[in-house]
Symmetry: C2
C-alpha cells in the first residue's frame, strides 16, 4: 500500500482482511481516483478506456492506464509503478492479468468491483487468470470511503460552501420572468467560477418541481410558484450537492407553513445524526415526523452518504441497518409536496462527529422561504 | 417495436435477427435514451439507479424504471408500457425478470449489454431466469446507432455548429494573461447558453497541451504559446465534440507551418471518408500523411464515430475493418506536436454521404492558425 492523507488506508486494510482478498483492483472513476489521486476526464466521458489501480494487502500499489493517460497519472499520482496498455491493440484486462501475474497474484483472491465492472471484462479476466478467484470487493472500497479523513472533510466543506454561495448569489439575481434555463445557466456558471470542473443541475419551477430530476426548460419563473434547485459540482474530485427552495414574487400562507415545517423536520433529522444511530432509524424518524405534520413521504430515502460519489453508503432508507460513525458525511434532504403539487426540497451536508453533527453548508440562512423579487 | 424518427428500427431488427436474439434489454444511458427518448439525469450522476428498456423482436417495447423516474419517462417516451420498481426494496433485476417472464421471455435468448452491465446484475438476472440464455448484444445497438437517421444528423449538426460558435466567440474574447480556467469557464458558459444541458472541456496552453485531457488550470495564456481546446456539450441527448488550436499573442514560422500542414492532413482525411473506405484505411492514410511531413503520430486513432456516445463505432484505428457507410457521422481529429512539445489539434464533425462527405462544423474558417490578441 502507499499513502496519501486523503485515503483511509487502515479501512482498506481491514476490509481486505475481512473479505479475505490478497489484492484489490479499482476500476471505477471513483475508486481509481480515491486510490491514485488522479482524476481522468476520459473516465467520465469514455468509460471504455479502462484505467485500473492495484492495491495489494502487502507491497506497493500500482496503476495500469491507457497509454495516453500515462503523463497525467505520472504527474498526479503518488503511485510510481505505472504501466500502460495500447488502446485498440490489446485488452486492458490482458495488461491487468500480466501485471497481476508478475506480482505473483495468479493464484490469489482478487477483489474486483463486481457492481461496476462489466461482465465482458470479468469474463476476460477470469479466462486469463484461471487459477485466481475473483471476489466482489465493492464493499471494501465502500466501507473505507464511508469514513472521511480530515483532508476529505475539508474539501467537501469547501465544495459545499462554494456551491451554496453560488445558489445564494443566483437567488439574489434571479427575477420573475426569467426562464428556468437562464437561471440554471447563471447558477452553473457560478459553480464553475467557484472552482468546479463540472456540474449537474436540476432547477424547476411550479409543476416541473414534481419531476424528480427535471432538466431546466424555457418555462418562465411565474409569480406565486415554488422554485426548487438541486445542484452540485466536482471540486478537486469531490462532489457537492445542495438543494434549496424559493418562491417567485410573493409567498402565501400555505407555502410559508409548508416550508417552515419541512425545515423543522430536516433540522430534527440533522440533530439526530449521531454515532450509533442507524440509517434506518433516521428514515423512520423522517416518516414519523412527516406523519405528525400530515405530510406524505415523497422518497424512499431521506439522505445519503457522499464524497467522490453522489450516493455513498449508508443511504438513509428503511432497509439500511448501518450505524452512523464519526467521519461519515451525509446529505439530509427531506422533500414534500404542497396542495398545488409543488415540491419543496432542502438538502444540507453534515459531518457526523463524536458529539453533535456539524452542518457544512451553513452560508445561507434557510429559516425562511426565500422570495425571488 | 415502436417507432420514433430518431431510431434506426430496421437496423435494430436486422441486428436482432443476425444475433438470434428474441428481445433486447437496454440499460446504459446511451441505449436507454436511444430507445426511449428519455434522458435521465440519474443515469448520469447515480448509475446504480438502473433504468431499462425492453425491445422484443415482435410486439411492443416496454420500460422498467425506478419509481421516481416514472413521471419523466411517461412525459418523454413514446413507450406506453412503463413499469416501476421500488429502489432499495427490490432489485431492478427482479423487476426486469418479472417483466420478461410476463412477456413470455423466460426461455428466450435475451440480448444484454455485456460491455456495460456490471457482473453483479448479470449474475442476478441469470439466477432469476435460469432457462433463458443471456447473449451479449452490445453490437446490435452499436451497429444500429452507427447509421444516423436524418433527425439525428440534424441534431448533431446543430450541436456541432453551436459548439463551434461558442469556441469562436471565446477565442475572440480571450486575452493574453487570462488563465486557462477563466477561458474554459467562459467557453463552458457559452456552450450551456447555446442550449447544452451539460458539457466537458479540456483547454490548455503551452506545456499543458501535451497532457491528453488536461483540466483547465490557473496557468495564464502566455505569449507565443499554443492553446488547444477540445470541448463538447449534450444537446437534446446528443454530444458535440470540436477541437481547435490557437496561438497566444504572435505566431512564429514553425507554428504557422505546423498548423497549416496538420490541417492539410485533416482535409485529406475528410475528403477520403467515402462509402466503402475502411476505418483502418483512413488510419493508414493518416500515418502516411504524417510520415510524408515528418510528423510523429500522437494517437492510436485519428477519429471516431459519434452521436449519443462520445466514441461510437467505427473508431478510426489500425485494427478496425468496418467500411464507412452513408449516414455515419465521424469526428476527424489528427493532432501533432511541434519542437516545443506543444500539441496542435483540429477536430471536425462530418457525415458520410453517397458522394463527398459533408462537414457539419463549418462556422469557423480554420485555414489559418487563430491568434489570440
Amino acid at each position: 500500500m502507499g499513502n496519501d492523507s486523503r485515503i483511509n488506508m487502515d479501512g482498506l486494510q481491514r476490509g481486505m482482511d475481512a473479505a479475505g482478498v490478497d489484492v484489490l483492483v479499482a476500476v471505477s472513476l471513483q475508486n481509481f481516483f480515491y486510490i491514485t489521486d488522479t482524476l481522468l476526464l476520459s473516465q467520465m466521458i469514455m468509460p471504455e478506456r479502462l484505467c485500473m489501480a492495484v492495491v495489494p494487502r502487502e507491497g506497493k500499489s500500482g496503476a495500469i492506464v491507457c497509454y495516453c493517460e500515462e503523463r497525467q497519472t505520472v504527474d498526479d499520482s503518488w503511485i510510481t509503478d505505472i504501466r500502460t496498455y495500447l488502446e485498440f491493440h490489446e485488452s486492458p484486462m490482458r495488461a491487468l492479468a500480466e501485471y497481476l501475474k508478475e506480482r505473483g497474484f495468479h493464484t490469489a483472491r482478487i477483489g474486483i468491483e463486481k457492481r461496476f465492472l462489466a461482465t465482458i471484462y470479468v469474463e476476460q479476466l477470469a479466462a486469463l487468470l484461471p487459477e485466481a478467484t475473483l471476489v466482489g470487493a465493492d464493499g471494501v472500497f465502500d466501507e473505507a470511503r464511508a469514513i472521511k479523513t480530515p483532508a476529505e472533510i475539508k474539501i467537501l466543506a469547501e465544495a459545499g460552501r462554494r456551491t451554496e454561495e453560488a445558489i445564494q448569489a443566483t437567488f439574489q439575481s434571479a427575477r420573475p420572468g426569467h426562464s428556468e434555463k437562464r437561471m440554471a445557466d447563471d447558477l452553473s456558471t457560478r459553480v464553475l467560477n467557484a472552482g468546479a470542473i463540472s456540474f449537474w443541475i436540476t432547477l424547476s419551477v411550479g409543476d416541473n418541481t414534481a419531476i424528480n430530476h427535471p432538466f431546466p426548460s424555457t418555462k418562465p419563473l411565474a409569480t406565486g410558484e415554488i422554485l426548487r434547485v438541486d445542484v452540485g459540482g466536482l471540486f478537486q474530485g469531490y462532489q457537492s450537492d445542495v438543494a434549496r427552495t424559493a418562491v417567485v414574487g410573493s409567498v402565501n400562507r400555505e407555502q410559508r407553513s409548508t416550508y417552515t415545517r419541512l425545515r423543522e423536520v430536516q433540522r430534527e433529522l440533522i440533530a439526530a445524526a449521531r454515532p450509533g444511530v442507524r440509517a434506518c432509524d433516521l428514515y423512520a424518524m423522517y416518516q414519523q415526523a412527516f406523519e405528525q405534520r400530515g405530510f406524505s413521504t415523497t422518497s424512499q430515502a431521506v439522505g445519503h452518504s457522499f464524497g467522490i460519489g453522489m450516493h455513498e453508503i449508508p443511504v438513509l432508507h428503511a432497509c439500511e441497518m448501518t450505524e452512523l460513525k464519526p467521519g461519515m458525511v451525509l446529505n439530509i434532504e427531506p422533500a414534500v409536496k404542497d396542495s398545488q403539487g409543488y415540491l419543496y426540497h432542502i438538502e444540507d451536508l453534515i459531518v457526523v462527529t463524536c458529539d453533535e453533527p456539524e452542518i457544512l453548508t451553513n452560508v445561507m440562512d434557510t429559516k425562511d422561504l426565500f422570495v425571488i423579487h
